[in-house]
């Protein structure tokens, strides 16, 4: 080494593959070879297969269950019903929202597809056959799928188990189908601002029910080793450590005797945060039979029974001065939670972080009230590629801004710019109680408008309207604008917990003697590329190449406790823990280097991958040399080894933001659309891996496209799911999906150790209003104010028709 030219500082930085580098993903070799290991790939000796008997009715009493024909089938081992689970007190389970949910139907069913019995058989074909043979006698009850009707005085009582209980975990219940009323802000002051305003716009904005629908459905393999008393559960868990704690509390098995493993996960998007009856049944069945039990749902089960998202009816009022200065914002939400309140939100926030609804705007006063309601629909209410209810909030404010612009007769881009929180106002305290960490909205906005030639687009649009009126074209042009602000990275333990477990996260690092390392985290990747990016954070902190650092997650026996991956919290929380643990490593390394170089540790400074004696750059010890010494040299007063762990409780959440513009052509006669251009500027603070950020943005935008333009979980009036397969539930293909242009500004978070904010969910949060606003904007000249999503071909045609555009 000494006889070669030493690498320059730039070369050493490059070799680390640390922050800011578009490092290729380490996960990809095994995935492209088909060597991923997903839950359905797990096959244990003697493994049984479980399958559910599900309710065809949305609301019915279960009069009897006769499993005799099923049990007579060769290869069937058992059929479990609520009666079998009751002695274990597992026929119901707690939900993440503080409600309870039937594991198997206890006397009645409350939604179509609800789990009624669990069949156990030697293979999946026999289990499916046997499920068909279980005879269930039902007595139909009146069905309510409309949350407004559910709150009428004479509506049928859905949750008879809660009969007479006039308060729940989130306060007073004012009706037998009411779950909670949650409020934030100042009601009277807001009313006063609105009632005395020069201009008020009022609108009902509905964000329809949809589903995260990851390509891999949910499933688990439970294996109870009765000899050792150890339970191992493999499953599609976005929060494996929480699953272990919940499994321990429910089963009575001590936590050290439970190992939960999230193997590779085929996409999560919030669907795999919840705890589902299938997980519980596979565990119970393994405990009962002493054999491993696999449960993997099919697509129809996934769409019908596990974790819907959204379903928020948002009645809004926004007020302003005549020249467009916003003076107040009010919202009342009727939130359809389905049959059980199984939302995945921090305990203190039954409507999640919906009160980020003032968005990117400096609004002096605001109020929100959310009524949670039971209906005969599947439980859920998960954050589908967003932080808790943030996408609902972003959609609401970005629609209200558009409606206000119409009311004011003002350009919607100008109205936004006029009301943005200004750069110098950060940290900004919002009217609904948040402290926005950092932002520079005007710069992002101007960059976005310039990039798309906004004024040129408006001119073109005006010309198009004229041409349409002259009968020269049947296509309209929509310009969909959005400036969103997210709140992610839950969260400070003082106000964010799930089932009482504080929402910190963790990283544990072990440096090996030869200067490579392993780091384990409390999170779990579902495609975000953690094994690639967390190694980059660490490489920049400790000066070892990312290629020499293994990242592991998802095994509760080895990884430190953490709350998991959802709500874009991995980088803000576990990423911060990684940096902090890296800094502990470096602090110890500094002491070792001081001993080796025979100087005071204060005489050393860190330089990329080494400690250098100040003023004597030729005297240094690299991290690699230090690691070797840490294990192999007796250093007075210093323990051998080089390890560190950090549990990070963030002081605040992070507030990523972005400016999106969607340019859409709409054919008024067919209702079809074409995305001509989509420009997405994201500011996620410090950028760890630009390639991965861009990939996250492409993916999130495509999910937003799906939601805005066609994807829906729809029910008929008797509670039948009308969109239970991929035939009816829209997932865009390569054919329907446009190319996107991505861009960025970089405003670091002041409280995060490396300034990163999280990006995975931004494109979904900002994308949905951008697509929807484009549809609305195309028809603005013809008097359209508000139509409900999804904007599928029929609905767009209907909008054009109702506006009289078909002559």
């Amino acid at each position: 080494m000494n006889d070669m030219t030493p690498p320059t500082r730039e070369e050493r930085v490059e070799k680390l593959k640390g922050l800011g580098c578009s490092r290729k993903r380490v996960e990809d070799v095994r995935f492209t070879h088909g060597k991923g290991n997903y839950v359905d790939d797990i096959k244990l000796p003697g493994m049984l297969h479980g399958d559910f008997v599900r309710s065809p009715y949305a609301h019915a009493r279960v009069k009897s269950i006769d499993a005799s024909a099923a049990l007579a089938l060769k290869g069937v081992v058992a059929v479990l019903t609520a009666k079998d689970l009751e002695p274990l007190n597992l026929h119901w389970m707690p939900t993440l929202a503080g409600d309870k949910q039937m594991v198997l139907a206890d006397g009645k069913v409350l939604f179509q597809g609800q789990e009624v019995a669990f069949v156990l058989a030697e293979d999946r074909y026999i289990a499916a056959d046997a499920a068909e043979l279980v005879e269930v006698e039902y007595e139909e009850l009146p069905v309510v799928t409309d949350p407004f009707k559910a709150l009428e005085p004479d509506a049928v009582e859905l949750r008879e188990d809660l009969h007479g209980q006039d308060s729940g975990v989130h306060g007073k219940r004012r009706h037998h189908n009411h779950i909670f009323l949650w409020e934030a802000g100042h009601k009277e002051a807001t009313e006063q601002a609105i009632s005395s305003a020069e201009v008020v716009a009022e609108e009902m904005v509905y964000y329809h029910r949809t589903h995260p629908c990851p390509l891999e459905t949910c499933g688990s393999v439970a294996s109870m080793d009765k000899v050792n008393g150890k339970l191992t559960v493999y499953g599609t868990f976005q929060a494996p450590h929480v699953v272990r704690t919940v499994a321990s509390l429910l089963s009575g098995i001590e936590e050290h005797n439970i190992r939960v493993v999230s193997p590779d996960i085929g996409g999560g998007f919030g669907n795999k945060v919840g705890v589902y009856p299938g997980y519980v049944c596979s565990i119970v069945a393994s405990i009962v039979t002493g054999r491993p039990v696999k449960w993997v749902e099919d697509r129809m089960e996934n769409l019908m029974a596990t974790a819907f998202a959204r379903d928020y009816w948002m009645k809004g009022r926004i007020s302003a001065t005549k020249d467009g200065r916003i003076t107040g914002l009010s919202c009342h939400v009727t939130a359809d939670h389905g049959a059980f309140d199984a939302c995945a939100d921090p305990t203190k926030f039954p409507a999640g972080f919906f009160h980020i609804m003032t968005g990117s705007y400096d609004i002096p006063v605001a109020h929100v009230g959310v009524d949670g309601v039971y209906t005969n629909k599947a439980p859920g209410g998960v954050a589908y590629r967003c932080s808790f209810r943030v996408t609902e909030a972003a959609y609401f404010i970005e629609r209200m801004i558009e409606v206000l612009a119409i009311e004011l007769g003002m350009d919607a881009a100008e109205l936004r710019a006029k009301n943005f929180i200004r750069k110098e106002q950060f940290p900004y305290h919002s009217a609904l109680g948040w402290e926005y960490d950092s932002g520079d909205y005007h710069t992002a906005w101007e960059k976005a408008l310039k990039a798309v030639d906004y004024e040129g687009l408006r001119r073109e649009q005006a010309e198009r309207v004229e041409a349409f009126r002259r009968g020269e074209t049947r296509k309209l042009l929509g310009i969909g604008l959005t400036h969103f602000t997210e709140i992610v990275g839950a969260g400070p333990v003082k106000n964010c917990d799930i089932l009482g477990m504080g929402m910190f996260d963790s990283c544990e690092i072990r440096i090996h003697p030869t200067g490579s390392a392993i780091a384990r985290l409390g999170t779990i990747s579902q495609g975000q590329g953690h094994a690639t990016t967390f190694a980059q954070i660490l490489a920049s902190e400790i000066g070892l190449s990312a290629d020499s650092i293994t990242i592991e997650e998802g095994d509760t026996d080895t990884a430190p406790y953490g709350l998991g991956t959802y709500g874009s919290r991995s980088t803000p929380v576990a990423g911060a823990a990684t940096a902090m643990a890296g800094r502990k490593i470096r602090a110890k390394a500094q002491m070792i280097a001081a001993y080796l170089l025979e100087v005071h540790d204060g005489d050393l400074e860190w330089d990329v991958d080494r400690f250098v004696v100040k003023g004597a750059p030729e005297r240094f010890k690299t991290m690699k040399e230090i690691a070797y010494a840490a294990y192999n040299q007796a250093i007075p007063g210093v323990e051998p080894g080089l390890e560190a762990v950090s549990y990070y409780d963030p002081p605040n959440m992070t507030y990523p933001f972005g400016a999106y513009v969607c340019v859409m052509e709409i054919d008024v006669d067919t209702g079809t659309h074409e995305i001509r251009q989509f420009y997405a500027l994201d500011d996620c603070g410090t950028r760890i891996n630009p390639m991965i950020i861009e990939g996250q943005v492409h993916g999130g935008l495509t999910e937003a496209l799906a939601i805005a333009m066609g994807q829906e979980i729809a029910y008929d009036e008797i509670g039948n799911v009308k969109t239970g397969t991929l035939m009816d539930f829209f997932l865009p293909t390569a054919w329907e999906t446009p190319n996107y242009t991505t861009d960025f500004t970089e405003t670091p978070s002041p409280h995060h150790p490396i300034g990163a904010k999280g990006v995975g969910e931004s494109p979904n949060v900002g994308g949905v209003p951008a697509f929807s606003n484009a549809v609305h904007d195309a028809f603005r000249a013809f008097g359209l104010r508000q139509v409900h999503m999804p904007h599928d071909q029929w609905r767009i045609w209907k909008t054009a028709h109702d506006l009289g555009l078909h002559g």
Partner: protein, 163 residues
Amino acid sequence: MSRMHITLTVNGEERELLAEPRELLIHVLREKLGLTGPHIGCDTSHCGACTVEMNGRSVKACTVFAAQADGAEITTIEGLGSPDGLHVLQQAFREHHGLQCGFCTPGMITRAHRLLQENPDPTEEEVRFGMAGNLCRCTGYQNIVKAILAAAEEMNTVKEAAE
């Protein structure tokens, strides 16, 4: 249920097995032959996660009975590339970030492999149309399309150099 004796050539290797007449090829591949690269993502043959090549055509292995595949030549993702080296397509997917969670990837690459044999020099539009039977929830397709076009170019360059 009586079982049928089935012989398949999978990734160049002859395999014999017994399967029920109703048994799907995807289950036989995954559970009897241990080839867990192809995945199951739906039950209506929309998602394409189970795509394999059968007698020189792309098929969704969830829509083929194992019995229909008796005597067939089948290639799965495990038949492309080797532990020592990635196939050009596998390398291109990695290079262009054409995958995230990896669940659709085996079907996606297997389909792209066949597409490029049918049309070695496709336009972007032809790639998008030819891949429309394979769903991805993570990438938004842009980088998948980029990867396939780049792989086509590289395969053509190699072919021209050889000629």
